[in-house]
């Protein structure tokens, strides 16, 4: 039988170390809503989402109360809208009307984000894909809760450089469209290489076409729990360090698995996956960077950071895999800058640069995340940053992503405030040299060779 020590340990994790379930995300397929009439399409989308998700928030709160564990977000992901809207949409405004429908549905059912305003263009773009991408600035500036993502490459197909070039422009344009809110639109827009179909985390969540009609995916978190566990093994060797992370990740993931199963049962929707991620928040003690510091680094970004992150990521997976029957999504440590107080401190201290962050993305999920850059950064430069990150994902057979925010009207040294879970960020310098001629070549980078691994 459970004893007092174990109960106290669990409750201490919840109360003092910010253990929580970060998100229950309900994936909903919209493929059966497709219609060539835009009005009918919008109506069907609204009805399907409303009917599927009307009990989601209530159920999340009920589970939270029964187990005494906070469930921070309840969210929805839908089929990439480029596929759903292709038959009905002729203009950017047509696509943006779907975004407004998604936003209205999200408000009505009470979720804080809805993901899937997306296009999958890893090899090429259809007309609908391109139209959706071009509508992103309008869609994100005229909605509040809609998140957008674009998959620009994969290990099997290579990188769609036309898409990369276009997305550089779109990110810049989204920043312009939302300049009144410090370019907040870009915080809801992410580009991927090897985007997973079952990711529950925003901004990149969408409901892949290989998924069932509806599915529950859960994202766990708990950087604070890992950090506290590591405080007890200061100075011990790597074997002890790794074992400690693994055991902690196991416990954290078990809670996610329990919540996922319970939500699946209560909503009568199949359980998809648990995403084993260490997702930080701006709250003190909920930081991935603090874990790296606890391992022995003065700041995140110091030499040794990539190795520390690699072992953290690997041990989290090793511990988590046994704790859950199905693991998927992004699964790893997130290293967003604005959402992690330790990262912000590291940038301010001059310890962490964009280049070091790029190196860190080689060994963890997901990529360059929530990084504020100067508003006058050229769109070709943003495309260059994206291309680099996509190449890392493509060659290393992993998911990588870019979510940078060119803050219009602000420069290096200034700070931008996004509020809530999105946090705040010091604007980081970008390498000033041009990559325009490279980005402007057009076409795509072929898929890499899958043998002769070096």
């Amino acid at each position: 039988m459970i004893n007092l020590y174990e109960v106290t340990e669990t409750n201490k994790m919840i109360e003092k170390e910010n253990l929580d379930v970060r998100t229950i995300t309900l994936g909903i397929s919209l493929l059966d809503c497709i219609d060539s009439d835009l009005q009918a399409l919008n109506r069907k989308i609204y009805e399907k989402i409303y009917n599927a998700a009307k009990d989601l928030v209530k159920t999340g709160e009920e589970i939270s109360r029964e187990f005494g564990i906070p469930i921070v977000n309840k969210r929805i992901s839908v089929t990439p809208i480029a596929l759903v809207g292709g038959a009905a949409c002729r203009t950017k405004e047509d696509f943006a009307s779907i975004a407004k429908t998604l936003d209205r549905a999200a408000h009505e059912v009470g979720v804080n984000f809805i993901g899937g305003y997306s296009a999958l263009v890893s090899k090429g773009m259809t007309k609908a894909d391109e139209l959706l991408i071009r509508s992103i600035p309008l869609a994100l500036s005229s909605t509040e809760r809609v998140c957008s993502s674009v998959n620009l490459g994969s290990t099997r197909t290579g990188i769609n450089m036309d898409g990369v070039k276009l997305m550089g422009e779109i990110i810049k344009s989204t920043a312009e469209y939302t300049r009144e809110q410090d370019s907040l639109g870009c915080a809801k827009l992410v580009v991927f290489c090897n985007a997973p179909d079952d990711n529950p985390f925003m901004a990149g969540a969408f409901h892949g076409v290989t998924e069932t009609d509806k599915v529950i995916n859960v994202g766990v978190s708990g950087p604070g729990v890992v950090k506290t566990a590591l405080e007890k093994v200061r100075g011990e060797n790597f074997e002890v360090l790794c074992e400690t992370i693994k055991k902690t990740a196991f416990k954290v993931t078990r809670v996610g698995q329990l919540v996922a199963k319970e939500a699946s049962r209560m909503l009568d929707v199949p359980f998809g996956i648990v995403d084993l991620s260490l997702a930080p928040t701006p709250a003190v003690g909920d930081s991935v960077a603090d874990i790296l510091c606890e391992m022995g680094l003065e700041y995140a970004g110091a030499p040794g950071t990539t190795a520390a992150l690699a072992l953290l990521n690997d041990q989290v997976k090793k511990g988590g895999v046994m704790a859950s029957s199905y693991v998927g999504g992004l699964s790893g440590a997130f290293i967003p800058v604005s959402e992690d107080q330790g990262m912000i401190d590291a940038v301010r201290a001059g310890a962490l640069s964009l280049e070091k962050l790029e190196a860190m993305t080689c060994v963890c999920s997901v990529g360059l995340d929530m990084i504020a850059i100067p508003g006058d950064t050229k769109s070709a430069t943003i495309s260059g940053i994206i291309a680099d990150e996509m190449a890392i994902g493509m060659v290393n057979q992993k998911t990588t992503a870019v979510r940078v925010i060119p803050v219009i009207g602000k420069g290096v040294g200034e700070t931008v405030e996004f509020g809530g879970l999105l946090g705040y960020a010091p604007i980081m310098p970008v390498n000033p040299f041009s990559c325009e001629a490279f980005v402007n070549r057009g076409g795509r980078i072929p898929a890499p060779i899958h043998s002769f691994k070096n």
Binding site: I2, N11, F67, G68
Partner: protein
């Protein structure tokens, strides 16, 4: 059997157990196990109870217990047993 874990944490004072047990008895909730310690003047108790034949829903019980805790000056939490089982047992 549906088991619930009740934890009571706070500054030690006279009659904490009595008040909690009275509430449980009034609501037909059977106590299966109690363990309790006092660390540096802090009262720390865990009860395993069977809520199967209880008169109230889980939510109501949790709310009323929390309110009772406030009155005594301790924090009372009700949680279903599964969260601890899942975390600490393979």
């Amino acid at each position: 059997m549906k088991k619930t874990i009740i934890t009571v944490v706070g500054k030690d004072t006279v009659g904490i157990i009595a008040k909690v047990c009275t509430y449980l008895a009034e609501n037909n909730i059977n106590i299966l196990d109690i363990s309790q310690t006092i660390v540096q003047g802090y009262f720390n108790m865990m009860m395993i109870v069977d809520t199967n034949s209880g008169r109230k829903s889980f939510g109501d019980m949790a709310d009323e217990m929390a309110a009772l805790g406030e009155k005594i000056g301790v924090v009372i939490k009700c949680q279903k047993e599964e969260i601890f089982d899942q975390m600490h047992r393979i």
